[in-house]
């Protein structure tokens, strides 16, 4: 019990701690590839601290939904994060929810974010909400299907069980093809969910292009801080999901200090690697038009489905 609690606390700290760093890392990579020096990788921490200290300005047209949303978003994202194994393959909370719970927890946050976008009554918010709506509605089926394709190999939909089994080379992937397809699908989903190029551009505030930014346009001060933090948490969540599902190397399958140490290091390296990859993608791809996004996500869905088919066909 005590061990479980410590683990949960540890994971919380790791997630909260590492997520801004990932954002910073991606920005740094982009800056480098665009031949800029760019801000330091720890800049996001400073931003958060500053935002927290600023007094938020709340639109007088809004209802209680608007100020409540940042906390709900933060809570739901963090709770979702606790279901995903990070450095240790067995997360104590994993029994509380499997992939479906994960998806719906994220959806809870999205739901309130959309509401908040509408709440202020400005055209931007509504526009952002409406676009977010279409994106999210296309990502989730692909996400569920892709994770399910992985789940089949290990006969479980509990993420930590999947990771644990794969890590211990139980129910090992006899052949990579379903995994590969699912990986690609999940990666695309991750880009979409975390509002990255080519689906969305976190760096823009141009009403033609912005989705997530448009929704949170009215936010300021600590509210914005929480939302930013939640966004980076979501990023961390997806990165660790991808990293641990497809490359559970070095993850701590036992709870000896040594294993945990290795796990932490491996984890950091892995997600940093994925983050760099994302950064590269962000500057090599252009942002797609909103109605082209559907094709991308459709492709993701099909890939995940193919992964499923392949799995059954190869397993007979």
């Amino acid at each position: 019990m005590l061990q479980a609690i410590t683990l949960v606390v540890a994971q919380t700290i790791v997630l909260l701690g590492i997520s801004p760093f990932l954002v910073g890392l991606i920005r740094k990579v982009k800056a480098r590839l665009q031949c800029r020096r760019g801000a330091g990788v720890f800049q996001p921490y400073a931003d958060l601290a500053k935002l927290f200290r600023k007094q938020p300005v709340v639109s007088s047209t809004t209802s209680w939904i608007f100020p409540a949303t940042p906390y709900i978003l933060f809570a739901s994202t963090l709770a979702a994060g606790l279901l995903v194994p990070t450095f240790a393959s067995q997360t104590p909370m994993s029994f509380a929810g499997n992939i479906i719970a994960l998806v719906y927890l994220l959806a809870l946050g999205t739901f309130f974010l959309i509401l908040a976008g509408l709440d202020a009554g400005s055209a931007f918010g509504g526009m952002g909400s409406s676009r977010e709506a279409i994106v999210v509605s296309l990502t989730e089926p692909a996400m569920i299907l892709s994770i399910f394709a992985i789940a089949l190999t290990s006969g479980s939909t509990n993420i930590s069980t999947i990771v644990h089994k794969t890590a211990l080379l139980e129910g090992i992937v006899t052949d990579p093809s379903p995994h590969l397809m699912a990986l690609v699908a999940l990666f695309i989903v991750a880009l979409a969910e975390t509002g990255r190029v080519p689906v969305d551009n976190p760096a823009t505030h141009l009403e033609l292009t912005m989705i997530h930014e448009a929704m949170v346009l009215e936010y300021s001060g600590r509210h914005l801080a929480l939302i930013e933090w939640a966004a980076s948490l979501k990023l961390a969540l997806f990165l660790s999901l991808i990293a641990n599902l497809f490359a559970p190397w070095g993850i701590a399958t036992t709870l000896t200090p040594a294993a945990i140490g290795i796990g932490l290091v491996a984890y950091t390296l892995k997600i940093a690697g994925v983050a760099v990859l994302i950064g590269v993608i962000e500057c090599t791809f252009a942002k797609l038009r909103l109605f082209r996004v559907t094709e991308l996500l459709g492709a993701a869905f099909i890939l995940a489905l193919l992964g499923l088919v392949f799995f059954y066909i190869l397993r007979g």
């Binding site: 809004t62 963090l78 959806a107 739901f111 509401l115 509504g126 989730e140 299907l145």
Partner: protein
């Protein structure tokens, strides 16, 4: 138990009669009717629960002088469960009605309305407890008739009359098929009693069984509103008074689910080919997806909710269909799981759909319009209604930790367990159904984000909304009780599942509650523990904890939690409702992406000033979604009959000679027929 049953019947009956004893006192009429309904449904709740936990089903019967008819009732767990569902919704609705009926004072006869409401609840209860096919049919038809009269409460309006008649015809066609089911069973059993239907030794020939399956699917499906038989639903449910819409959408369509389970799992004894389940699965998936998609395009709040009923019936059928498929292959535990998921979603949908319709009713009550584009900013003006509606919306979109989440999760699991099926085809089909379910779920989320966001948030979009105020306490209690049910059913699966298991146990022959509940009830997992689990209480706790953590962090880093209010930045000009995103605009990307299904047609008429074609005097914008099924499926049939009738009317051309000839020919023909 018998006492409870009698109390229930008696007080409904009294509720039918008593309102008429207070002529010209609508207040009293409504109050009396509602009180009777409350007493009855209260005892109904008790009856349902006791029926679920009782070891022996309660049976009672009154003989009749009509052959083959016996007024026999039997409260086995299945029936009790539906009695419970009906009574829960009924109780809330009748409390709600105490306030809501004011809406009708002076416009329609409140006494009739109250009496019909009691009759409606009574007939629904009789439908599910009837133990005799003939009796069932009587109750079924009564239910249809009474609900029809409730739908046409405001029959001065032509659209209401149309809705009502459409409903009446559809439901009657459905009834014809239901009659067919019982005819086939009657022929083999030589009796209308369910006991005789149930007997395995009178197993029907294969063709007849298939006929029964199809008849049940069409007959009950019409009532349930499966695609493509759903077309009446978005007309009829909104037309009725809102607490009746709540009952129709929340409960009445569930009687059809009851019928299907009764026929497939009870009468057919769970013996059927795999394609039965598969057909049900397909129907479920189609209904779920199309239901939510059409809902997305609706701006009439009640029509939107009605389409969501189609969607949720689809989800229920996904669970049941999966259960049937597993049943075919003897995977009893999974069959039980699927069935259980379907039943769980049944009661959940009853709760949140009733809640949402009541919420819509409250908006109607205070703004007198059903058009979402005229709402806005209502959350500040009616906080309680807003809160309850939000809870309903969160539940129907299956967000944790509400009840919708639990049942949809169970359905997902049931579909994912397809790996254990022998045939590759089904192995693939069930996960695809799951993907469709996922899409449905998200679209529902979008739809309710729209519904809540446009109606309750931002600035009022019309004077109706500007002058809206909170509804009377009775209505709030009615909604509140259901909101509590939604949350409760979500947080306490450890209580609900064992009860449902008492239904699925006898039907599938295996009890799974101990398998589904692990960690002494805290976690809910599928029949094999490894496969995945959730625990809504824990999730709720986590959410709260993380929320507090967020608050704490904000406090730690930010110090005092003060905030400043200022008007929204409107690009320099003052913000007005006309600048807000409309429901139409919000749904535009979806409409764009799925235009293949919607086939939207846009009409833009512009009148220009005669001086210059650069200045428009007025613009008129029309956006129409093609009603595919009505246009290509229903209209042709109607036109066919009309055409036949018109052509035949020359038979009655008014010429005596012609008439004489008919008789003469008939005579000669018959005489030849003898020779």
């Amino acid at each position: 138990m018998l006492i409870l049953l009698l109390l229930l019947l008696a007080s409904y009956a009294v509720g039918v009669v008593l309102p008429f004893c207070f002529p010209r006192k609508p207040q009293a009429q409504g109050m009396v009717g509602s009180v009777c309904a409350c007493v009855a449904s209260g005892s109904g709740i008790a009856l349902g629960i006791s029926g679920l936990i009782a070891s022996e089903p309660l049976t009672a019967s009154v003989a009749s002088t009509i052959p083959f008819l016996a007024f026999a009732v039997r409260l086995d767990p299945l029936a009790s469960f539906f009695v419970l569902t009906i009574s829960l919704a009924g109780l809330a609705a009748s409390i709600y009605a105490m306030g809501y009926l004011k809406e009708f004072h002076g416009r329609v006869s409140v006494a009739t309305l109250a009496a019909l409401t009691n009759g409606f609840l009574l007939s629904m209860t009789l439908v599910v407890i009837a133990d005799n096919g003939f009796f069932f049919l009587i109750a079924w038809e009564l239910m249809s008739l009474v609900s029809y009269f409730l739908v046409v409460t405001e029959h001065e309006r032509a659209d209401v009359r149309y809705a009502g008649f459409f409903y009446l015809i559809m439901t009657h066609v459905g009834t014809a098929f239901v009659v067919l089911i019982y005819l086939i069973l009657f022929q083999s059993a030589g009796s209308f009693s369910f006991e005789a239907f149930r007997h395995p030794e009178q197993s029907l020939p294969e063709g007849m069984r298939t006929l029964v399956f199809l008849a049940a699917l069409i007959g009950f499906g019409t009532k349930a509103g499966i695609v493509p038989l759903h077309v009446w639903l978005p007309y009829a449910h909104p037309a009725a008074p809102s607490h009746i819409s709540a009952l129709m959408s929340g409960v009445m369509i569930k009687t059809a689910i009851y019928g299907m389970i009764r026929v497939y799992f009870d009468f057919m004894g769970g013996q059927f080919p795999w394609w039965w389940g598969f057909v049900v699965l397909i129907v479920g998936a189609t209904s779920a997806l199309l239901g939510v998609m059409y809902a997305l395009m609706e701006h009439d709040l009640k029509r939107l909710l009605a389409f969501h009923s189609v969607e949720n019936i689809g989800i229920i059928l996904l669970g049941i269909g999966a259960g049937m498929i597993f049943q075919t292959y003897g995977l009893k535990e999974l069959a039980a799981l699927g069935l259980l998921a379907g039943l769980y979603h049944t009661i959940n949908h009853a709760m949140f759909k009733a809640l949402l319709f009541m919420g819509a009713g409250s908006l109607l009550y205070t703004t007198h319009t059903r058009n979402m584009e005229e709402y806005g900013g209502l959350l500040k003006r009616m906080p309680w209604t807003g809160l309850f509606f939000l809870i309903g919306a969160v539940s129907i979109t299956a967000l944790p930790p509400t009840n919708g989440f639990v049942s949809e999760w169970l359905v997902f699991q049931a579909l994912f367990l397809s790996a254990q099926l022998p045939t590759l085809f089904l192995k693939l089909m069930l996960p695809i159904a799951a993907a469709i379910l996922a899409l449905t779920g998200v679209l529902a989320l979008v739809c309710f984000a729209k519904a809540f966001g446009i109606s309750f948030l931002a600035l009022p979009r019309s004077s109706h909304a500007r002058h809206a105020e909170e509804v009377p306490i009775a209505m709030r209690i009615g909604m509140g009780s259901l909101a509590v049910c939604c949350v409760g059913l979500g947080l306490a699966p450890m209580i609900v599942v064992p009860l449902l298991d008492r239904i699925t146990g006898p039907l599938t022959g295996v009890s799974i509650s101990d398998k589904v509940l692990s960690l002494d009830g805290w976690a809910l997992d599928t029949v094999n523990v490894e496969f995945g689990s959730i625990s809504t209480p824990i999730l709720a706790a986590m959410l709260i904890a993380c929320g507090l953590l967020g608050l704490f962090l904000a406090f730690v880093f930010g110090g005092r939690l003060v905030k400043r209010y200022y008007k929204t930045w409107g690009c320099g000009i003052n913000l007005s409702p006309r600048m807000e995103y409309t429901a139409t605009g919000f749904a535009q990307p979806i409409r764009q992406v799925f235009r293949a299904i919607y086939q939207p047609t846009v009409k833009l008429e512009t009148e220009f000033l005669e001086e210059s074609r650069y200045f428009a005097k007025r613009r008129h914008f029309d956006l129409l979604i093609e009603p595919v099924f009505e246009k290509y499926l229903y209209d042709p049939v109607v036109n066919l009959f009309m055409g036949i009738a018109d052509r035949l009317s020359i038979l009655q051309a008014g010429s005596l000679t012609l008439y004489l000839t008919y008789i003469f020919v008939t005579l000669v023909v018959l005489l030849l027929f003898v020779v």
